[in-house]
Symmetry: C2
Subunit: 409 residues, 2 copies
């Protein structure tokens, strides 16, 4: 097209509908043929085996790719992240490099993906106004839907880092204590209202010092990239336990993440202004820089699309979440994960949880096979995927985070 | 005394008022003379340098003591913990071993203590009924002091593992967002109500599998020992943020732990029945085995004893906390820390926080120098110590967890 600059393309054949064109280059940890897990990058239907490639190319510091987690690479900081991305882009777009690279491409269908990073601390925010209002209307019908503090700061809480698992890991239905308002006594047993939360997670690379806050302007310096998160939730356990200390066992049994972490550099074309914030935020939360991200999520249950949550509708931005999280001097560590909270848009078809989709069970969701769901049944498989605009007019994807529900033990 | 069995004593001269007689033998991580941090055991005024001692004695697996954290030793599990304790007891009580041991004793005053274990996940419970009732009366004067769920399960929440620090680490006054009920707008600034929480922490050694709960009867199999915890709290930040997701930035800036972890084996003589639980607990929370611990805590502010909280008064037991924490199938990792929640007894002089001691500022506490405190001032030093009955009629101590408040940055 006249006037358009030529799109960067790879000499490698990348299917047009692949989430992983050369404009993406997300990082993950894989194993192949019984060998030890190590770092790879997704490109089309292939996976680039970085450790031997870096060794063959004599890349300085390339030993970080031999690790079974992304953490050593993440700890290097933004200059290294940018340098490696430029190097990979050159390798995959210059035909002269083809011979060097080809021997290190593996068929993506033949590798096993692992948890991409060792999670240091896991924080979950609550940054969709639509989600927070829906939950408020459902759980506290006689009160204002939003708590008074909600419009003033991105509310969050710490989750359990040790039960963050990679996509594909079986999800055993949790048991726990619950007592619905009408019930005479508390009981312990398998969760009766198992749910999902479709979220986007941000992965910290560069650490910070205790006692020093990280301003919104330092977001790109500390955050390496983003992944998908399914924050599995046991609504009956959560409803009984959450006053006054917040969610605990209703969430801590499992949190799934996608195997691929997209570098922020891949998401530059997805940046958008976030919704106007009224009342105006306090200075430490002003985000004049990074803003929001135009990510289109899709939630499938047993193959049926049940929701298309728009991340661009999130009220609080990832840079504001980071500034709030560290506003008390809490330090960051490599591998910290903070998730956005459930992504729900204004429309009914944009809600990121079954709690909202079924309005706490009152309005069942119909799947393509004609069956209906209020909450998840044993055997159900939930898959959350997302796409974003990439550079050069491309479309890039997060892949997906998937999990199947197994019966309680 | 006729009829009393002879107390086990060490050939090493241990001062009679030492918290570390041979019946204790707590573990910590120290460095000495610029060398790398490694594992040590406290005995009287000395520290036993385990790595070279184990090497000299040819102890199988003794390399775990060269690590800069207790985690490799903790991961070995109870049979190894018991074997090492028996070995140490023999070394320190049989004069024949004196020559082997003496070369590996260091003066405790010359070593630097470090964080004893790498914290995996940190959970804080809320298990003192007196504390929970006090907080309820202060924060929610128009409601029942206890939430309806409190008598049915040990409520808890996840804290920030990355900001757990060792005793002696400076505590920078956190800043944060707060809005008192009468104030027209939220503000961001240095905490105005900085507080402590005197707690006892339990350290997980042996991990468990995701999806499998750990019954109360398996407490000793998974938990290695106990330490002291000061869960520093910014009450103004906490009060504004905690509905509906619980404590977050009001706690996450710092949590201090004592440098010594006492093995459960040292606390056998301290075991006591816990208070009667009414209503009866659900089966998964029945603790017919371990029960409570008779630990006497002491809180000092700038040297003045301001409180003596009795751990024996805690409503929920550590085994019940563990069973609840894993009741949804959440897995345990080596290095998980779970704390009891503030230890407050029924008496006014037994309250484990300034929030309670000063009744939210209404009743200032007078220190020995004549000054008064409602909450902590810059420069204040808080020290929490604890003692317990040990074997052979001995008295064993936790040492202390200490921290000084520095001005906000």
């Amino acid at each position: 097209m006249p006037g358009m600059s030529a799109a960067v393309t790879s000499w490698l054949d990348v299917p047009t509908d692949s989430p992983f064109p050369v404009q993406n280059l997300p990082y993950g940890v894989f194993s192949y043929d019984g060998e030890a897990p190590r770092v790879g990058v997704a490109i089309g239907d292939h996976l680039l085996d970085l450790a031997p490639l870096a060794a063959a190319a004599g890349l300085d510091g390339g030993h970080v790719f031999q690790a079974p987690t992304l953490n050593p690479f993440l700890a290097l900081g933004r200059p290294a992240w940018s340098a490696v991305r430029s190097w990979l882009t050159e390798l995959l777009t210059h035909t002269a490099q083809r011979a060097l690279v080809e021997g290190h491409l593996l068929p993506a269908c033949e590798v096993t993906m692992h948890l991409p990073f060792e999670v240091a601390d896991y924080v979950d925010f609550y940054s969709s106004r639509h989600h927070a209002e829906n939950v408020g209307r459902i759980f506290r019908p006689d009160s204002e839907p939003l708590s008074p503090n909600w419009p003033h700061m991105p509310l969050g809480y710490h989750g359990r880092a040790g039960t963050v698992v990679v996509s594909g890991t079986p999800i055993v239905r949790p048991s726990g204590q619950r007592k619905a308002p009408g019930e005479p006594a508390a009981t312990y047993g398998p969760c009766l209202r198992l749910d999902i939360e479709a979220e986007v997670g941000f992965v910290v690379g560069a650490s910070s010092r205790r006692g020093e806050r990280v301003p919104t302007s330092a977001f790109r310096e500390h955050v390496f990239g983003a992944c998908l998160v399914n924050d599995w939730s046991a609504r009956d356990i959560q409803a009984w336990e959450y006053v006054p200390l917040g969610p605990f066992l209703g969430k801590s049994f499992a949190t799934s993440v996608s195997p691929w972490v997209l570098p922020l550099d891949a998401l530059e074309a997805a940046r958008v202004a976030s919704p106007a914030q009224e009342p105006a935020v306090l200075d430490y939360l002003r985000d004049d820089g990074y803003g929001g991200l135009d990510l289109s999520l899709e939630v499938r249950c047993n193959g049926t699309v049940v929701s298309r949550p728009p991340f661009a509708s999130m009220y609080w931005t990832p840079a504001q979440q980071l500034a709030h999280l560290t506003g008390n001097g809490a330090s960051l560590r490599t591998g910290d994960l903070y998730a956005s909270g459930t992504v729900s848009g204004p429309e009914r078809t944009q809600r990121g949880s079954f709690l909202e989709l079924s309005w706490n069970g009152a309005e069942p969701v119909t799947l393509d096979d004609g069956s209906t769901r209020t909450f998840l049944e044993d055997g159900d498989e939930v898959s959350i995927s997302a796409w974003a605009p990439g550079a050069d007019g491309s479309r890039i994807g997060f892949g997906s985070v998937t999990g199947r529900v197994f019966p309680a033990r």
